[in-house]
Symmetry: D2
């Protein structure tokens, strides 16, 4: 119900505007006794942080998290976990001109219509900066999943360039997070060129969940694919979701479809089978282009920064459904 | 939380197995005073019903709804509305062989793993028949939307055949619900051929919402696109969702993307702008093929029957968000 | 959210008006594999049924339940369980006069103000008949609790007469459900006298939960006492709730309070300790008195019929919290 | 679901332990455009703060709130409001001895059983200090209610002393928040005496809601009385709840009950009628008595400090139900 909360048993509530005092998240439903320290958040925050290469925005965010509640002597207590990150590089001045001029393709006009009164600085709540809170929560969610479960995101397309190979060791070695070393080079060149043209590009992200718990998801409205789609589309830049063979199933015959279990994407009847879960998300190009992009800081390609956010959202869905399965499975 | 419920303020709860006594839905959150009669459900039930042409299953479902509660003297009372449809053509015998032999691509094995004990007759709760309840609820949801809002679904692809024109008057005149008269002919021929081959095909459905209410959806986790994706993926046959330019945004430059407002799909920042909402769903081919399809009743193409279900799900999301907007908008 | 639903993991949704076609309940969140048959509902329905003695209304309700969904071959399937009870003795005619004359102390005027349009026959949704659905759900909830957990309700006060002893074997042997054989005789005489005077009386019900699961309830807003209070006050006739020493704690010193663990009512910090849970509910007298009571069927004392309803509500809370504890407890 | 959240449309989520870094609350569902400044919280925090007189604990809490999010240029934006209060006077040392010795009547042992791992300092999450977050949220809730609606709490009983008069101007002039000037004097003397004896006392609080909105609450499970009971019992010290004539209805005849509308407590059929809502809560004596009370800081009477907390909880319920009524009422 509350539109800034996500999940049912593992439930997060996020708050904070891009140019307010801080961003934060409250994570409720974490069992007691799980090791958690403020340092645990740093690697994922670093992966999400902009300004790391020529392919993303130059905006710097130091993102030092503060653990306000829910942990005692290094372990969770069963109480809600609260983490905040102060906003430091918040140059509101850059955005003053935006007060009266809503930007095409941005949420500005929609917010103005809906709320009448809005924080126009840097998008306020609609800013990509809001996703810091999701990444924080994702770190905790992963701790609830089995150790063998791995959530791996990578860019399979950037504009016209498509990845053809999956070499996971490659992903974190290139700025686009592409698992195909060759495509990665072409992608980077393409994005650098767009940057000079004050333009931007979209892309496709694949998330693989290897060795996922089975039996997650419920028939009818809580199908795992339904909850994953909701999670993925809740990220601002995402324009599409598919799992398994996805939109290619539209062209398939049933005999083709059932011949290859990879087509099922690790889910049948809305329930995880234990096989690798595969899903894709299409990412739109950032809307700040041309003169506006030349004037301020802009993002020629948000794809690599969206990847840790999508991984976090997937972790949150899986952990939530795992708790649900614990609750509703028959004791045997 | 309850996995057989959907929506927050307009909340439906569905029940019933394909071969049980009845299917039904309880619809909570409907304001009082809205005209509602059992006849109102008939046209949409007829649209969903199989056996109407050579392109869908021959299974007959008479689908006579019973209005058990929530309506008095022809108008809603604010109390929960309950509607059931008895199962008549439930030949369990046809399915006895399935008890021990889970079907490839079906939910059978997933249910067996998750529940241990399952109703193996015709898929039980995982059957497409469950969608009757959604269609019933969609009829009520539509009554909460403005009269000018129209939700129109149609097939834009069936296997290799793609619709190129949008002539809405055509949709209900051909068995595939295609808005392109020429493509419709080719689609029908293709599906008839698959039927003879005991095979099936997938497709793509587009849902357009013309003249939708604006300001629906909330930033963060209750973005309208997020709720629509959840709703659409909750339908068993759906493998993908996109809105606006969808997966094509992955290939676009920002300058292209912002140049054409149709790319935004009627939503910005997760909030409806009042422009036509456009979304697409990819539909997988039915998994009952070959010998199994030859032996029993099977569905060479579920696309036309999924359309009224998707329209219903979209109506439910819009009505729910409309009630939410009423609650949380600032009185001005 | 949905106001006709109760519970979070074990979630029930009720529907039906006193003079509509049927009453019913959908029970979601029941694990698969639990034995359940339509006969299981009969004893509790019988306990709730009016017309069994001179102390309650003469309205006859046959209450034959129909199990529409969720059970296959005698066991639950994990799908929602739907049960309905048709309304048979629905003499709307008796109530025609009530259309325009809201009754003092009844919900009539409140419904008229809130909904504009209401089902005036027998109170519609505000009728005590709605509690049939709760009793049905309570039967299922009890099956989720440990076998040793017993929920026992009894009348501790009827008007001026107070029970002094607790002999559980006595409860079902007298029409007031009083555990004190002597008080029971006085109570029955008192109620028969009120019946002749076309008047009614209130009372107090105690619910004891013997051998309850420990660790149920959560700190902060989901304290077990908070959920029990919500459940108990959701029953129309209830005007007050207390647990343990209840309102007597207001007069106590801390030294007295901590000296006797029975004062804690089986809960500390909002969490069940495993000791017997004791709570009390005050029941108001039925508002149909005087000429109205003389003309129609009325209830001089609803207390004995409220007891199985309160037991059911307590069972629902406990089962819901037990599932929650399963979900959120640390695996050890 | 999330056990640290309360409310459906106006939804708060609280966090923080008594001896952690900070306490806080996220308030979601507040419409945009409402004037809100950090100063608005100060009066209610002051009312809740201990150490103001000889009748409550000497523990000092400066309670300076920080508004982290949701307000821009002095008005709410529709985004979640986050407020924190740092813990300053957190002398954990005082509590070191409690690590292994759970206190009688406290949550200590229940937490240990439920969580295995707990923050033993000052009760952690079970501390009364958690209520700071509720008071903060209550300030915001009140802004959503009509200006004429007034929520007034006062002590009607402290141990053996009962208030007989209601002079609202008196309430804030005496340390017990009693509306009867004479009783107030006796109450204060009684509590000072208990303080010297290292003992404590319970009491009764009445909350009156004058000029409440009508039509709040829903039939069945969201009766206003049910939601109020849940809210009131979610406060640690509360052992009982009643509304209107409350437990006295148990002794009443129907003819008496309907003769006096004050008996209805401002609600019929679970819905507010617009008449003054009256409810009572019984408060248990603090469990820290004797040697433990002599050694540390203790609270001989928590009643006056519980009053602003209960007022806050009532405000939250009313505002939540008011938003719900906006959503679900028929546009006329």
């Amino acid at each position: 119900m509350a539109s800034n909360s996500f999940g049912e048993l593992l439930r997060i509530t996020t708050f904070g505007e891009s140019h307010g005092a801080a961003l934060g998240v409250v994570i409720d439903g974490v069992p007691a006794g799980i090791a958690l320290a403020v340092e645990d958040f740093l690697p994922e925050l670093a992966r999400r942080r902009p300004g790391q290469s020529g392919v993303t925005t130059a905006r710097r965010e130091s993102d030092a998290p503060t653990l306000l509640a829910g942990v005692f002597e290094g372990r969770t207590t069963g109480s809600p976990i609260a983490v905040t990150v102060a906003n430091e590089d918040a140059r509101s001045g850059d955005y003053a001109a935006l007060k009266d001029a809503p930007r095409a393709g941005h949420a500005d006009a929609a917010y103005q219509s809906k709320y009448g009164h809005r924080d126009h600085r840097g998008g306020g709540r609609s800013s990509g900066r809001e996703t810091v809170a999701r990444v924080l929560a994702g770190v905790v969610a992963r701790k609830l999943l089995p150790a063998e479960t791995r959530i791996v995101g990578h860019a399979t397309r950037i504009g016209p360039i498509v990845a053809r190979r999956f070499e996971p060791a490659t992903i974190e070695t290139n700025p686009l997070r592409c698992a195909d070393p060759e495509a990665a080079v072409a992608m980077e060149a393409y994005v650098r060129q767009l940057r000079e043209q004050h333009d931007s590009t979209g892309g496709v992200v694949e998330i693989r969940v290897e060795a996922p718990p089975k039996d997650l998801g419920d028939p009818t409205f809580a199908k795992l694919k339904s909850k994953l789609a909701e999670a993925v589309l809740s990220v601002g830049a995402v324009t599409g979701f598919s799992y398994g063979a996805g939109f290619r199933t539209a062209e398939m015959r049933g005999s083709e479809y059932v011949a290859e279990t990879a087509n099922f994407g690790g889910m049948l009847g809305g329930i995880s089978t234990g096989a690798t879960i595969r899903l894709e998300a299409s990412i739109k190009p950032a809307s700040t282009v041309g003169a506006a992009a030349a004037a301020g800081r802009h993002d020629p390609c948000v794809v690599p920064r969206v990847i840790p956010v999508l991984e976090a959202m997937v972790a949150l869905v899986l952990a939530d459904r795992l708790l649900m399965q614990r609750a509703l499975s028959t004791p045997r």
